[in-house]
């Protein structure tokens, strides 16, 4: 996660304004905001509501429904590990536990130094190279605990 911008309301407004022409623009806006700032800042709920003539409740309702959208920026490195059946069958849980123990955090948490965030995902579609992970967007297959630690700390 190298290219995150610091949150600026003007920039948020600009991103939202650029997407208002889309039908059903709410999710594309959340994605664009999270892409820029690493999270969807709570101030943007009112901005989106205003731009799309929706109630803030409708926008917040959508925002809070989806697992992906963060309310705080993640750590410098974002590790997403699959916890679904195919990866379970290949020892994914043990690999994950090894990494989490090494980092001293639980699922969804960030190390105190802000270096690494570990999030669960349910299937990356990399089931034929299980267990699998996505480290800063780069796919990793046939992982074990050591490999995850290396990737998370590299």
């Amino acid at each position: 996660m190298t290219s995150l911008e610091p949150w600026r309301p003007e920039r948020g407004e600009e991103i939202i304004a650029g997407l208002t022409r889309l039908d059903g623009a709410v999710l594309p806006m959340f994605h664009a905001l999270q892409g820029a700032f690493g999270h969807v800042p709570k101030e943007t709920v009112a901005m989106i509501a205003h731009a799309l003539n929706l109630s803030r409740a409708e926008v917040f309702g959508a925002l809070s429904f989806y697992h992906d959208f963060r309310h705080e920026p993640p750590g410098a490195r974002l590790v997403k590990i699959c916890r679904a059946e195919s990866c379970q069958a290949m020892g994914g849980e043990a690999a994950s536990r090894f990494l989490l123990a090494d980092l001293g955090i639980d699922w969804g948490e960030t190390t105190p130094d802000g270096a690494v965030t570990v999030e669960p995902v349910y299937c990356l579609g990399l089931c034929a190279v299980s267990p699998a992970a996505l480290v800063d967007g780069q796919p990793l297959g046939r992982v074990d605990g050591m490999l995850l630690v290396e990737a998370a700390r590299a």
């Binding site: 429904f65 579609g125 089931c127 780069q138």
Partner: protein, 499 residues
């Protein structure tokens, strides 16, 4: 100079394909990035274009390249990793590739390559014969929805075509959330124009001018490749007045359910809608909408080009044509294997899959994703066909087959099924929202050895409620993995665990 094809499918990137491509290009050799052939245990599998055709090597790591160059692999030289002509490999030779005919062979970024491999013949044929005959061809093919529900595609198309209204939509369900499935992703990465052509055929057939593909945030590479393909097709004008937009979900499994998907596309919480009205009558933004899975749409170009009868000639019973079976989990030969319906589960797991990767005995096979039943080896004679699976309280779903060896604890898998349902429930209906949580708690009690029989009876009763009282398949099908685990491996629910 020989060209070398190196896959860029996300599963191959996950095992080092980029480093291999880089190391080959460094030597001044032309590298083409293709999709994956689907023999994933051999990935990264590279293919050299020689005078004798393509010669494959795999699995190739960057460290193997000095040796490969030394062995003159650019001319098909002998090497420990040499696999020979890919089409002669038994795993490929045994397949009937229709949906995946081009995947792993062509350059997914090139429209010219797509045309050279028979692309757009289906769309051309559709335009020749007109919308009604196009729908008839799809109906005659017997093609059923590959997302899992298995609804006949032609009937859905006809319903939308006959629905009144100027504005209609084609929505491609690419929210491939089932664990053990990756065929949609592979098509989007390896042969994206096939999907676009299929959507254009559907649009022509029903009179739609706008299409959406709802993909997943977990698929960044597929989204990049497919997004680029949309731009290429748009600027080349090959889809004429039909336009396609890619939308990306946000980690909600339930959005793979078609009405939740439509809600999400509209910018709302991904909550399931009650049916009726059917999406074919009132779908996206209240307009008549075709919602089809990636594989369904990507198969229609072949159906139009070769005729519905040719497709219907394959398969068994009411399951016509082929299914790209996705083998995953603890299996020796994981990948995508496209075959006509009619194989037995045992053939799929043991002959094609080669048994477990660990070498231990197979204990359970989950078919059809997290909402699919677990099958024991004693049911390996089950024929791979929608009805035969349903008759054994299972489902084919989207074609995922996940193998587990004898170290798996089926009570833990049953508990996971409830936990997953609780995590992903949209919250709209009570059986799913509350029942999943209570189910996970009760299963934990069983695992702790507390009132085992009474709690198992409670779970059985709860599963009845979920099955018949839920609005959609998330709550309705969670009983499949739970009850199959209880029925086939009762011993796993009566052990004392020392946790």
């Amino acid at each position: 100079m020989s060209r070398v094809c190196v896959p860029r499918d996300a599963a191959t990137l996950a095992v080092g394909a980029d480093a291999v491509a880089g190391a080959i290009a460094e030597r001044g050799v032309e590298v083409v990035r293709t999709g994956s052939r689907g023999l994933v245990w051999l990935e990264p599998m590279i293919e050299v274009e020689t005078v004798a055709g393509r010669i494959a090597y795999g699995p190739v790591m960057a460290k193997d390249l000095p040796g490969l160059f030394e062995a003159d692999f650019l001319n098909g030289g002998e090497h420990l990793l040499r696999l020979g002509r890919p089409e002669d490999h038994p795993w490929l030779a045994g397949q009937t590739r229709i949906t995946f005919a081009r995947c792993g062979i062509l350059d997914p970024a090139s429209l010219d390559d797509y045309r050279a491999h028979g692309g757009f013949k289906g769309l051309e044929r559709a335009r020749e014969i007109g919308p009604a005959a196009t729908i008839a061809a799809v109906t005659d093919s017997g093609l059923r929805g590959r997302g899992g529900a298995g609804f006949p595609a032609g009937i859905k198309w006809r319903t939308v075509a006959e629905a009144p209204g100027e504005t209609k939509y084609i929505v491609c369900n690419a929210d491939e959330g089932d664990s053990g499935t990756f065929a949609d992703r592979m098509i989007m990465e390896g042969d994206p124009f096939t999907l676009l052509e299929g959507m254009a055929i559907a649009a022509f057939a029903v009179g739609a001018s706008k299409g959406y593909v709802y993909s997943r945030s977990e698929y960044p590479h597929a989204n990049a490749t497919f997004g680029a393909a949309i731009e290429t097709a748009r600027s080349a004008g090959v889809l004429s007045d039909f336009d396609v937009e890619l939308r990306v979900g946000a980690g909600a499994y339930v959005c793979g359910e078609e009405t939740a998907l439509l809600e999400s596309l509209e910018g709302k919480r991904g909550q399931v809608r009650a049916k009726p009205p059917l999406p074919a009558h009132q779908g996206l933004f209240g307009k008549p909408t075709v919602v089809n899975n990636v594989l369904t749409l990507a198969t229609t170009p072949w159906v139009l080009a070769k005729g519905g009868e040719a497709y219907a000639a394959l398969g068994v019973g009411r399951s016509r044509g082929t299914q790209p079976i996705q083998l995953a989990g603890n299996v020796r030969y994981p990948g995508v294997y496209e075959a006509p319906f009619g194989l037995t589960l045992g053939e799929i797991v043991n002959d094609i899959g080669g048994g477990t990767a660990s070498g231990r005995p197979v204990k359970a096979v989950q078919c059809g994703g997290p909402l699919g039943a677990y099958f024991p080896p004693s049911l390996f004679d089950t024929v791979y066909d929608y009805e035969a699976f349903a008759a054994r309280d299972g489902l084919i779903g989207h074609g995922g087959v996940v193998v587990f060896d004898d170290t798996v604890d089926m009570a833990a898998q049953a508990r996971f099924a409830f936990q997953f349902c609780a995590l992903e429930s949209c919250g709209k209906c009570t059986p799913c929202r509350i029942g999943s949580v209570r189910g996970a708690e009760t299963m934990q009690r069983v695992m702790d050895g507390v009132d085992t029989e009474a709690n198992l009876a409670l779970i059985t009763d709860l599963c009845e409620t979920l099955k018949f009282g839920s609005l959609c398949a998330l709550g309705g099908f969670t009983p499949y993995p739970v009850m199959s685990a209880i029925n086939h491996w009762p011993e796993d629910f009566h052990v004392v665990r020392d946790i």
